[in-house]
Every structure is written in structure tokens, then in C-alpha cells.
Symmetry: C2
Subunit: 446 residues, 2 copies
């Protein structure tokens, strides 16, 4: 019987294990090793666990180990870390972190779904109690504990996680300061769009200081202050939210190719360059359809899909993951903030001759009570008028409208094509000329 | 100077007038004749005016005649009905309905935007006070008045307007009965989907009786009861909501071709077969991209677009309206009800070898509080696996998700293509596998 060893028990790992097992059934023995105490958790919901909106750590779990083992006939080994792969002899070495013992497990296929680690700053005091990064459920539990006992909280970084966590901390009544090296929040938005988000975050009482270098964290055992280039900030809890670093050490041990992004390079079958070794999720690249090359955008949706494709190929099918277009949505205080494709900066950086257009239009019919303006920012290629990207911000009606633009990117649509889309209209949900159409009309004529 | 006569002052007429004038400026004299007392009204908002959510008739107006005349330099003649077109001699005859006089107006171009009339039943008593159809603002005012003085209201018909009006009447505390000839509400949905809507409407206290022929309306001056094949129903107000009949009489006078749908046939430039005569809006057909032939689906969004294209062509551009895919969205009590493309019935009727698949999945992440199931019904062509249509019903997250499916139809996507869409994920707005992806996965495998 063939043996599949899955390293990592969250989105990509479990999707791969399930898909392969579903196809090969009794002909495939599968085991999942997860070094943390939790599998199948929704990392995107962790800010809501910290705020208390999601009450228990267990509420972050999609499927429990017991359910998974029973439904899929796949054993789950939590608190088990794969520390070495002996590719030539066909086994991995596993540390059982609870019982402090090591053992070897034979494999025919490996699925590397080792995820990512929160980037740190490399400054003194990062190991102090109360200084956190946020990836695992354990991280979230520990931040929730720190936050509840803190008065002042500093967030280093102004990406989605930093801003969602700012909301969580504010909802707990904390005084929150964001320290940011660059002048802009949400670097994968163009600056006029991220400025709208910054305004919202400030309006909720968060202090934002930009152009700041963090020099050290200081305190006696537990953090007491952040020492930064623009002065010191009191903090009994700190979240470092500088993005994710793919966990590629194990892959590198056996000569798996790492892409220019620093993450594991895979083909559309989620195969690495090493025979019988697949990868997916936050440790791996994904093909970016608009850029026409791999990108590193670690997200749960991509991990689910990549994992399933890996599992289907291990299971004997021949399926491909066509790739991503870089869609991301976030709730930041009262705003829905969404993007897909490339920002103008990214498009220009990729060598596209592109331009940006921005409009503001209401979320509902003007006849219908309520409703708020939505700002729509489109990136269009000059010659072809092909849509390259979209960003939207508003208080309602943004989170799914961005998906229309994602579909347009998948379809290679021009601004003219988008302008002609037959979108739904009903006064409670949209004006007769939807903001998307207004935006596309401006883009096609610009 | 050339002269454009626009017949009809709502979506298509005003869009055409504006676009033509914007292009030709002083070289084009334009006049708009509107036989009702209102221009530029949002007919889709009329149910909310009847309920009182939209307080005044003026709140239904997108742009007032004064604003329009001032901004666009186009005179608006309300309460003016064009009663005859003398094509050979190049003038129209206009009845001034206020001053009871007639006059002739010369034209070089005509834009026919005569709209539609609510279908009636052709039974006795339709002229009684309190028996209504709903198209114009005057209709809405009159229904609001009738409804406020009624205890029991009967709605003949179970389409969008009938059901939206049922909600309005219920919100006014009225006892509402829907009498329906066919066994199904919302005939352009497949029956398992419309059953969900029917269940919602009944749960709000509306009596629905199907398989009913209306025989007559009876009363002394004002309606008192509806006499139907299954008995009599007390009613101090009646709404006949059986759909729309395109107003084509004027067009027919001058030999404009009427399509098989009964509405005016136009090409993609919105030109009729008669030189210098354009048409658009609820009196005209539109090309249906999925069906590959013209259809009659009178909606404000289509009227806006068709009118603008007509005006651009009158203005000297060469622009095309690529067509519609049949997207429609409605709020029916607490449900968002949406569809695009073809239903299974329609697809089969059109000769497609098609199948339907239905799934139910949550609107938000299961980790996030709130959220409701969304039912997604997809119609797929058997051989090609091309998506032909989609229907969605749920309490949230439906109204814009349908637009993703509309974009997919425009792009000619297969179920497989839709399954691979990189849709946004954030716990407050969607689960990691969006209902759209779950639905497409089922459709691609079926």
C-alpha cells in the first residue's frame, strides 16, 4: 500500500489528505503531522477570537481531529513536528512534542503544507512576554490573554492583520498605537485608497505613527514599552504584524526549489521539482493569472484549492490549479476593504503601461434609505484597455462586488467589457448604474 | 440644425437625449415628450413609496425636469403625448394633455422610448376605483391612497412586482391575498427555488392561492371583491401584476418591425429597421447573450444602457450594446432573490441539453456570528459544461453574488472556470469556500 505523509494540518494539508484519500481509498495510507495543538483552524477568524466575538478556541476549528479521523479514515498527529526528511531512504523523522520521543515514518508521497511564520523585526526584546506574532490558535490565545491584561497595545505593521487586530483591541477598550515603517497602510492598495482606511482607523481612536523604525522592546520579563526612532511608546502588549515568511526549511533539505518570492515553487499540479513531493498553502507560491508568473500571497482560500489539487494528483487524477488573481477582503472597523489583481504600483512594477481611475458612487439606489458611498479604483492597461486590478472601499456592498472584478480578471475582460456587464439592480442593494459600471465607464474612456 | 424628438422621459429616453446632446451639443436640437407628469423616476422603488419607506413622490425622481433642462439644455415636455408620427413629412403630432391642444414638431431623428403598460386581465370591473396596475408614479400614488384605505388587498400575479408589493402592503398592516393562475410564483425561476420564496411570503401572513382564474372585479364605483374560479375574495384594493406589455403602437404606425417577443426589434446600435428611428427601454427587445437571440426583459438597467447607446449613435459615434444576460434582483420580505441567465425550463425550451444542480451553503464563515444559508441553483450545458444560468436565494449576500455569475455568463465560463475563481474570503462576509465555488464544484462534476 502506498503511503502519503502530510506535513501540516490546516487548510492545504487537510485538503490534500482528504482529496487523495477520497480517490485512492484503501489503496493509500495517509497520515497528517501537525506541530501545533490545533488542526483545521480558521486563522482569518483569530481577530474575532481576540475580541471575544468568537468565544472559544474550539470555535475557530472547521473540523475536529476526531471528526476528521472518523470521516476520512486519516490519522491526525497533533503536536508532532516533522524535523527531517530522508528522501533517499523514503522516511521522515517526527518529533512527538508531547512525549518527547522521535520516530521515523515511511512515505511514498509527501505533501508539504508547513505554512508560514509571522515575520519578526530582529530587534532586542522580541522574546519578552507580551510580544506576539499571530498565526496559530496558540498565538491567538496568548494574545487574547495579554490584551485583556493590557491598557496600551502597540501594533507594529499596518496590513490586514494589524488593522483587524486594531479593531479587536479597540473593541476591548484598549488604547492602540500602530507604528509603521512606511508612510502607507495596506501596501498592496494604492495610496489614495489606503488613505481612506487610515482615516477610518484614526477616527476610531487609534494612534497611527508612520515612518517609524522599531529599535527594541523593553521590560522586566514582560514588555513595558516599545522603543522606536520617534520615541518610546508604553505597551503591555505588542503585536508584530509584518507579514508572513513561508516555512521552507524542510523543503530545502531535500532540494525542493524555492521560487524568487522565497516560497516553494510548484507547477499547476502543485508538484515541486522533487518527484512525489507536492506543496501548497502558505509555504508555497501560486501562479498569478494577471501577472503571468508565480506570486506569494498566502491566503486560506488559495491553500484550500492548492491542497485539493495536490491531493487529486496524488490520488491519480490529472488536475490543475489555474491560479489566483490576488483577491482579498477585510473588514476594518466599519469599512469593507477589498482588492483584486494588481495595484497601479504593482502593475507598473511588472512593466505594464497602466493607469488608474477612481470614482465614488452610492451603494444603493438614492431612492432607498440608508446606503453609503463606495470608492472604486480600477487599474487598466493602456493599449489593450484590459482590466488589471480593482480596489474598493465602503461601508456596505464591497465584499462581494470585488468578486465581480475577480471574475472579470479571470475572464481577461477589458474596461469596456465590464462596463457592459448586466449587473443586478434593486433599490435596496444597488443603484441602476452600479458603482462597478460607473467605474468601468470612466476607465474605458480615460 | 438637426432635430431629435425623444418619445418618453424615463430611463431610455433621457439617456438617449443626454448622450446625443453631449456629443452634438449645439448642432442638435433635442426635445423630450413624456405623457405622464413625471420624468426620470425609479419605477423599481415604487413599492417602497407605497410602503412609506420612500416618503414623497419626488423622492422617486432621479433628476427633476428643471435640473435636466438646465444641465443638459434639453427641454422637457411633461403631460405631452406623441399621438402620431408622419414619417414621410418628418413631423410628430403632440397632444398637450394639460392645455388640450395639439401641435406638430419636426424631427430628423426619433428615439422611441414609450415604455410598457401593465398587462390587464380583460375581465369585467377592471375600471373600478381601487383596481390598479403599477408602472408610473401616478399609479404608485393612486395605489398608496387605495391601500391606506383598504383592509384587504388582492394581488393578481406572483412576479417580482406582485411580491414586492405584497411586502409593502403587509408592512402597512393589510391582509394580503395573492391569486395566481399558475402553480408557481416567479416563473423565471425553477420551481424548487420559487418554492423557497413562496414559503417566505406565506410565513409573513400572505394568503397565496394558485391555479385561480380571475373572473371579475365587483363593487359599487369602488372595488369590493374579486370573483375568481375558486371563490370570492373581499378586497378594497386590487393590484394586477401580470407583467408588462411593450407600447409599440406608435412604432407600428411607421412600419417599425416588431420582434417575435412583441417588442420593438432593434440592432446592437439600437436602430430599428426604419432609418433615423431608434428605440430602447421597456418598449424594445434586447439581445440576450446566453440565448443568442433577442429577448424581452424590461428593466431599468437595460433601458439606461440601451438609451445611452442609441444617443451615442444619434450623436455620431458607432457604439454597440452587446446585450443582456437576464440578471434580476429583488428583495422579497427578508429574502434576497436573484437570477441571471436561463432557468432550466428556459434552457430546455431553447433547445439546450442542460442540467440543474442545487447546493446550500452559509453566507459567512461558520466561525463568525450571524450568517444564513444561501441556496445556489446552477444551470449548466451538458456537453460543454458551460454555465447557462444561476439562481440564488438567501437572507444576505445574494444580491451581489449573482453579479459574479452574470460576469461568468458574459465571459462564457464553464462550471470548471467558476469553480476556480479567486473569490474574496473574510469571515464576516463569506466562508473560505464561497457558496458560488461549492455550487460550481457540484455543477462541474454532475
Amino acid at each position: 500500500m502506498e503511503k502519503l505523509v502530510v506535513i501540516g494540518g490546516v487548510a492545504a494539508g487537510l485538503s490534500a489528505a482528504s482529496a487523495a484519500k477520497r480517490l485512492k481509498k484503501g489503496d493509500l495510507s495517509t497520515v497528517v503531522f501537525e506541530k501545533s495543538g490545533y488542526i483545521s483552524y480558521g486563522a482569518c477568524s483569530e481577530p474575532y477570537f481576540v475580541s471575544g466575538l468568537v468565544p472559544q478556541p474550539e470555535d475557530l476549528i472547521e473540523i475536529t481531529p476526531e471528526e476528521f479521523e472518523q470521516k476520512r479514515s486519516i490519522p491526525i498527529r497533533r503536536m508532532h513536528e516533522v524535523v527531517e526528511i530522508d528522501y533517499k531512504n523514503g522516511y521522515v523523522t517526527v518529533d512527538d512534542l508531547v512525549n518527547h520521543r522521535s520516530f521515523k515514518e515511511q512515505f511514498d508521497y509527501i505533501m508539504i503544507a508547513t505554512g508560514a511564520t509571522g515575520k519578526t523585526l530582529g530587534v532586542a526584546g522580541e522574546k519578552l512576554m507580551g510580544v506576539h506574532t499571530l498565526r496559530t490558535v496558540e498565538d491567538a490565545i496568548s494574545i487574547r490573554h495579554s490584551a485583556r491584561n493590557a491598557e496600551d497595545i502597540v501594533i507594529c505593521g499596518g496590513g490586514y492583520i494589524g488593522l483587524e487586530m486594531a479593531e479587536a483591541f479597540v473593541s476591548l477598550g484598549k488604547h492602540v498605537t500602530i507604528l509603521k515603517k512606511t508612510s502607507q497602510m495596506l501596501l498592496n492598495f494604492d495610496s489614495e485608497m489606503s488613505a481612506l482606511v487610515e482615516e477610518e482607523v484614526r477616527s476610531k481612536g487609534v494612534t497611527i505613527t508612520t515612518g517609524v523604525d522599531i529599535l527594541s522592546f523593553e521590560g522586566h520579563g514582560r514588555v513595558e514599552k516599545v522603543v522606536a526612532s520617534k520615541g518610546e511608546v508604553k505597551a503591555e502588549a505588542v503585536l508584530i504584524a509584518k507579514g508572513a515568511l513561508p516555512n521552507v526549511d524542510l523543503a530545502q533539505q531535500i532540494g525542493v526549489k524555492i521560487g524568487v518570492t522565497g516560497a516553494i515553487a510548484v507547477n499547476k499540479h502543485q508538484k515541486t521539482n522533487v518527484e512525489r513531493v507536492y506543496a501548497g498553502g502558505d509555504c508555497a507560491e501560486a501562479y498569478h493569472i494577471v501577472r503571468g508568473k508565480p506570486a506569494y500571497i498566502p491566503l486560506g482560500t488559495t491553500a484550500n484549492k492548492a491542497g485539493r489539487v495536490a491531493g487529486e494528483n496524488i490520488g491519480g487524477l490529472n488536475t490543475e490549479f489555474p491560479g489566483i488573481v490576488g483577491t482579498a477582503v477585510s473588514k476594518i472597523f466599519d469599512l469593507e476593504v477589498a482588492r483584486t489583481g494588481l495595484s497601479l504600483k504593482e502593475a507598473t512594477g511588472d512593466g505594464f503601461d497602466a493607469y488608474a481611475t477612481t470614482i465614488r458612487h452610492r451603494s444603493r439606489s438614492k431612492h432607498y434609505p440608508g446606503g453609503y458611498p463606495i470608492t472604486v479604483h480600477l487599474i487598466t492597461e493602456r493599449d489593450t484597455r484590459r482590466l488589471l486590478g480593482a480596489q474598493m472601499i465602503g461601508r456596505e456592498g464591497v465584499a462581494h462586488r470585488i468578486d465581480v472584478m475577480a471574475a472579470a480578471l479571470h475572464g481577461g475582460m477589458t474596461a469596456e467589457d465590464v462596463y457592459h456587464l448586466d449587473l443586478g439592480y434593486a433599490p435596496p442593494f444597488a443603484p441602476a448604474w452600479d458603482p462597478i459600471l460607473i467605474a468601468a465607464n470612466k476607465a474605458r474612456k480615460a
